[in-house]
Subunit: 178 residues, 4 copies
Amino acid sequence: MTDTTDTRTGWLSDFELEQSRERLPILYVDAIPVRVDSRGEVSHVGLLLRVMPDGSISRALVSGRVLYGELVRDALLRHIEKDLGPLALPRVPASPQPFTIAEYFPDPTVTGFHDPRQHAVSLAYVVPVDGECAPSASALDLVWATPPEAAGVSMSAEMTGGQDRLLRLALGHLGLLP
Amino acid sequence: MTDTTDTRTGWLSDFELEQSRERLPILYVDAIPVRVDSRGEVSHVGLLLRVMPDGSISRALVSGRVLYGELVRDALLRHIEKDLGPLALPRVPASPQPFTIAEYFPDPTVTGFHDPRQHAVSLAYVVPVDGECAPSASALDLVWATPPEAAGVSMSAEMTGGQDRLLRLALGHLGLLP
Amino acid sequence: MTDTTDTRTGWLSDFELEQSRERLPILYVDAIPVRVDSRGEVSHVGLLLRVMPDGSISRALVSGRVLYGELVRDALLRHIEKDLGPLALPRVPASPQPFTIAEYFPDPTVTGFHDPRQHAVSLAYVVPVDGECAPSASALDLVWATPPEAAGVSMSAEMTGGQDRLLRLALGHLGLLP
Amino acid sequence: MTDTTDTRTGWLSDFELEQSRERLPILYVDAIPVRVDSRGEVSHVGLLLRVMPDGSISRALVSGRVLYGELVRDALLRHIEKDLGPLALPRVPASPQPFTIAEYFPDPTVTGFHDPRQHAVSLAYVVPVDGECAPSASALDLVWATPPEAAGVSMSAEMTGGQDRLLRLALGHLGLLP
């Protein structure tokens, strides 16, 4: 999760954002980008390689803050474009219901979802993408894993902050957990 | 709901199907076809005009039986193609979870969902369609209504068997109920 | 929605909260309290009578802010106790998935969910309560309405800020929308 | 999954049921019984020990057929009483939406959900039980496992027909998958 490209937040200085983070839960969205076949079944899950808040390099989902005045749907679209490029053609779900929520805490023992910077609550969605994806901004790389690969232990070992668990919750929601 | 075009059921004669209908709940799928804009938001809901089991002419959703050996996903695709034509390009949801179930009974007072022929339990899904839709088979016509139109009383008055209620449940799931 | 009883927020002065509200979406929970019968079916929906942010008196759902460091589950329990008293015996759902989210804006035309004070995003849950409920704190009264009563126009007319719509979305999720 | 105690099905002889099973998908319910604490969080998952359709002894979920004319809610209550006894005090969810569906086929390679007798489609629900549970009818024993135990490989090894996977999907829905 990164805010470095939230260029629309000029009115909220880094110092002010830092202060708010110590006093309010911050609203996030997490998107699990997927490729679907013509029958609508998920064939691949997209995973970014990027630098995490704690400095490690990790596989990660699309994730980011919801801005003041921004609709959740628009936050999803903005972060997908930021991470997968402008040609990804995401299909944000028609229903506003997230498949789950993830509660990130500075203390990793509270929920298992960990963000050293803040208490963040994330609305999580599975988002099929039809177009060409190119990792942009802070993402170093993008891989497409089959559902069994995504659920495997080697993938988990490369993910931090509990995002491997969020990925498994998404696979469960899709009925694709082995 | 109609089975007249279930041509794959040759091994289950009309007489045999009639007998089973008196002894087992029959598994159905209901699909609410929608048009979505580039942000994924529903702009229109598709409603068929067709002859219902009770002989009346009614606005109706895409609906039909799941066959022996058939996956729910494939039943959805088959009935959408049957009712909207082969170029509808449906996007069946990646998750198998229906947004609700509808329990149809010969007695209309049990649940409000009514099928004079049988006890049927239907799995209901919202399905965006991207392509060209043309009413086919038993459907006489197809209209696209905006969510407020679809939720209105004049549309409800043209639907029977409780399908107007199922439509409102779908709009609620989409956050689009006025 | 009120924060007057959020006594744990001493470290965030009213002035500071006011400032944050102009810069970040604030995380809320909405709870729809229900009575269920022995089969688990909803018999009644609980509605508070209270003073709303805009000064009007209105029927309302249980609603309030999630505090820094607080789990969503605990925020639900705290607000239900605040509004329905300590003997309500709420049964917060085991799954963290809200049945919908409501996005409240100072501008009532954005989503139809309106909060003159802030941009708030609320996670909405249906919560069966088994115990004795007594309106407390800011609530003036509590009534139990049957699902058809709750869905009726006279109830809607007494609710503001879009909470009548949220109530209908809950009834839809429960399959109880007429 | 067993039908030996479906005593209400006298009008459908074993021979006739056998015939229908070769021609129609059979509607089932699967219930994952759980213990919840006062905050509504799942502390334990209930697992039966019983003889499976293929003759093996296996850990299993509560499962069974929906009868002609029976509501899904009543089928859940009946099978929970059949397997956990009359004092289990189940709290069937207020919403009719299952958390997933499981499609069982005689061929174990189709979906991974396997029933040698039939094509069955099951609606799956998590059901908190408050009362005393005693394995009855065909169940030999009942154990309560913590979520980590339930998700573990040793438990999986004792389950057949894909029910270990359904259990993991339930844990995912509950946000309790490790």
